[in-house]
């Protein structure tokens, strides 16, 4: 596609439910990042995928969070047993290679946990 896409754009869920957020990176981009942004805050790194290498999961805040990237393309971020503090905008970004540094961001998924 022309850019990074994310779905859904908005998600409202009840505390304790599981949610899945999807990211379609730019075709051919080998690096994919997930970030979380709380209201008025900067971006908090969650997880990084590069090619077929093992992902860098060092930013995941708890074991309720997991992510996968199938076929080196689409990625899914899963949050199990959601909590109210998980409410945030979840941003996905991709870059052509890690060395290119420039990241292309999707529009984000706004998650609200009631």
């Amino acid at each position: 596609g022309a850019g990074v896409s994310q779905s859904p754009s908005n998600k409202v869920t009840e505390k304790g439910k599981d949610v899945e957020l999807r990211c379609d990176p730019i075709s051919g981009h080998t690096a994919l990042y997930w970030y979380r942004q709380s209201l008025g805050q900067g971006l908090e790194f969650l997880i990084y995928f590069q090619g077929n290498s093992a992902p860098d999961k060092s930013g995941l805040p708890s074991d309720r969070f997991s992510a996968e990237r199938t076929g080196g393309s689409v990625s899914t971020l899963t949050i199990q047993r959601t909590q109210q503090e998980d409410s945030a905008v979840y941003l996905c970004a991709s870059s052509l290679t890690p060395e290119s540094h420039e990241q292309f961001f999707g529009p984000g998924t706004r998650l609200t946990v009631l």
Partner: protein, 110 residues
Amino acid sequence: SQQGEEDPQALSIQEGENATMNCSYKTSINNLQWYRQNSGRGLVHLILIRSNEREKHSGRLRVTLDTSKKSSSLLITASRAADTASYFCATGRGSYIPTFGRGTSLIVHP
């Protein structure tokens, strides 16, 4: 903890004026990027400056980097209402995972 911290947190100017935002960081970096974010959604890359560079230009944007002071500045000249956005610096060190600051919120009044 945040590696880059932008200053000021908020900036309000009139159209046509210049806007200057600063980013300070604590440890040595390989590169520093500036991004713009409109309406709390996706970020757009503006410019990257490497640690061996001191100044870069892109259109109305001018970025400087002072590694001795561990700081960078982003200057937007002749600002427009469309420049209203949040601006973030992102510092890169040994890994390919940049660290973002909390951003400067810029409002340009027409």
